[in-house]
């Protein structure tokens, strides 16, 4: 830090009273509440408070601008914008219902894929595999959390999508019981592909965070379980997993938040058709993908306001998920949760 404001030497302590800032009169004569203040330069206080105020203003500004800019669309479609109606600008229909459904479906399917696999990997890396294998594997998985979403999207569009169209989706259609989920022509771009992409993108986060949580379970707890005669797996199942549950919940909440808000990669692979999907192989659209595709070509006025209203809906959805996650973790005896993810990836 090379800060011109702070370069003045520390002021010496004179007598028993700590000198205040500035030089207005001897310190001993000041009122008590000023006397007890710590020495500080007024400029530093201004910068500190200013930075905090600026950040608060940014947050409030973001909320206010999204709400105010979307008001026109909400006035047009009513609050039911949030849960019903479809998106069809050509017919003058501006509502987010189908897109909310699309967002919830893709995120849910992604979580159905990523939670068991992510937990399996975390348990393996933290409890089952020897250290020489677990350490490099988990480091590389953590590095993969930094892969930009656009790179994942590019790969999914040019490599995974053709593969899905020719090999994966036809096979899924032939499965006996699951054909309610998988039917209809296999295009490649589909809700399923978007969900798989979201799963791939969130996997490193889930693994990194839940592995940390598993590693944080005290050794004494494991030893206590072993002393009771538990097998290795019973220790994991009955002691380690319950002990780490708030950390795991934090990991999953963070992954849900990421999956809900991911727009670019999803826009590349979902096929962009805002309708209630009849099958996971059908193309769909999410709030994020619709914003990406519609914003540039939205007509000024109501059209733009409606796209911003989609953003507002998405914001509401992510905040709901985060608050729900916070409450869940708090009730279960954990402490803070959101900052954990922000610090790691």
């Amino acid at each position: 830090m090379n800060d011109p404001i702070n370069s003045s030497p520390p002021s010496p302590v004179t007598g028993s009273v700590v000198p205040g800032e500035g030089g207005d009169g001897p310190a001993g004569l000041r009122p008590w509440h000023k006397r007890r203040r710590l020495p500080s330069s007024p400029l530093y206080a201004i910068v500190r408070w200013g930075a905090a105020g600026l950040f608060a203003a940014l947050v409030i500004g973001l909320l206010v601008s999204i709400v105010s800019q979307s008001s026109q669309a909400f006035a047009h479609s009513g609050l039911s914008f949030l849960w019903s109606g479809t998106w069809n600008p050509d017919a003058g229909e501006y509502a987010g219902g189908t897109l909310v459904v699309g967002t919830v479906i893709t995120t849910s399917v992604a979580m159905v894929i990523v939670v068991p696999i992510g937990l399996g990997i975390s348990v393996s890396l933290s409890e089952l595999t020897p250290r020489w294998l677990a350490a490099p594997l988990s480091t590389s998985i953590e590095f993969l959390a930094a892969v930009p979403s656009i790179v994942v999207g590019l790969w999914a569009l040019l490599v995974l999508s053709p593969l899905f169209a020719t090999d994966v989706e036809p096979v899924l259609e032939r499965l006996p019981v699951l054909d309610w989920f998988f039917h209809g022509p296999a295009y490649g771009p589909s809700i399923l592909l978007a969900s798989v992409v979201l799963a791939i993108m969130t996997l490193p986060t889930v693994v990194a965070l839940s592995r940390t949580a598993l590693g944080g379970v005290p050794l004494a707890d494991r030893e206590a379980a072993m002393a009771l005669g538990a097998t290795h797996w019973q220790v994991v199942r009955r002691t380690v997993l319950p002990g780490a549950r708030s950390g795991i919940a934090a990991a999953v909440t963070l992954a849900i938040g990421r999956a809900l808000g991911e727009s670019i990669a999803v826009a590349l692979v979902i096929g962009n058709r805002p309708a209630i999907p009849h099958s996971l192989l059908a193309p769909g659209a999410t709030l994020g993908s619709a914003i990406v595709n519609q914003f540039a070509e939205a007509s000024p006025g109501l059209g733009t306001s409606a796209v911003i209203a989609l953003a507002g809906t998405l914001l509401l959805l992510t905040i709901l998920v985060n608050v729900a996650g916070q409450l869940l973790v708090r009730r279960r005896g954990g402490r803070r949760l959101l900052g954990v993810g922000g610090a790691v990836v």
Binding site: A51, G61, R245
Partner: protein, 303 residues
């Protein structure tokens, strides 16, 4: 890499064994008593195998992704690719120099905005515990969960709509807003590792708050601050959504160039997209590795 403290995830210390812990141990004992050791071992083995199977299933797509990007991107990569400006479709020999420069400029604006602001807000949180600090911390937590596309729209509303032009400044602002909450939280976590005793010692020597902040807090927190800021930077460099509505042309930012070229049917454009993706991936990986190695070396030096 921050590790969760045991107290954060566990159910509490042993001496005060809560009802939950008692119930959990009872379940274990009952399990052991009811089922034979052979059966318990069998379940254990089965579940362990299921967990281990998840490793290749999860790691394979990630490896395939990196391998595909490297193999396809390497074909496009050359010195000319990095230093030449893009050419129109069909004209050979185009590069991505404008995108690299544009991305650099955007990121520079973002860093200029977010790094100092993040440091001072974190110092504020560190020095002034209280209701204001907690609400700012809460705001930072909420902000770090806001989807990047929404931040893009915010930047559009704040800058592009007001000044009626697209600009790298707007994009830098968007990335800055995106990085800021991550940096604040990482900086604060790093500052928490500095013991309060040291801070008090500095103050009791008569040093000003600003002096203590610089010489004690920042000095002690430096490894964490550097790591946190570099990781936030690595994340911002790869963002596309905030640039979508703020940058004038897709050739002026690497991520936008990839997004634009990926959807075009021409093999040349796709080749460019792969090459740019490889450059971006390399950049992000360098930043992540740098973050961790720097933290490691700084940690050793300050100790």
């Amino acid at each position: 890499m921050r590790t969760l403290q045991a107290a954060e995830v566990g159910d509490g210390a042993l001496p005060d064994m809560g009802a939950v812990e008692v119930a959990r141990r009872r379940v274990i004992v009952r399990d052991c008593a009811r089922r034979s050791i052979r059966r318990r071992r069998l379940t254990g083995r089965t579940m362990q195998v299921i967990c281990l199977i998840a490793v290749p299933i999860g790691v394979a797509p990630l490896v395939a992704l990196v391998v595909a990007t490297v193999s396809k991107g390497a074909g496009a990569l050359s010195i000319g690719f990095l230093v030449h400006a893009p050419t129109p479709e069909g004209v050979p020999g185009g590069g991505i120099s404008t995108a690299i420069i544009g991305s650099g400029e955007i990121v520079a604006y973002a860093v200029a905005m977010a790094v100092p602001l993040g440091l001072f807000v974190a110092l504020f949180l560190f020095e002034r515990p209280g209701p204001i600090a907690s609400s700012i911390r809460f705001a930072a937590d909420v902000m770090s969960g806001v989807p990047s596309i929404i931040i893009g729209i915010f930047a559009y509303a704040v800058y592009v709509e007001q000044f009626h032009r697209f600009s790298n400044v707007a994009a830098g602002f968007a990335l800055g807003v995106l990085m800021l909450p991550i940096m604040i939280r990482a900086n604060e976590e790093a500052m928490r590792t500095v013991s309060v005793d040291l801070w008090e010692a500095g103050i009791s020597l008569g040093a000003r708050r600003s002096r203590v902040a610089r010489s004690v807090v920042l000095r002690g927190a430096l490894p964490g601050v550097v790591t946190g800021n570099l990781l936030a930077l690595a994340r911002a460099v790869g963002e596309t959504a905030p640039l979508l509505f703020t940058v004038a042309s897709p050739t002026l930012a690497m991520t936008l160039l990839i997004f634009n070229d990926a959807t075009q049917p021409f093999p040349d454009a796709q080749q460019t997209a792969w090459g740019t993706a490889l450059v971006l991936l390399g950049l992000v990986l360098i930043l992540s590795v740098a973050a961790r190695t720097l933290a490691w070396t700084l940690n050793r030096k300050t100790r």
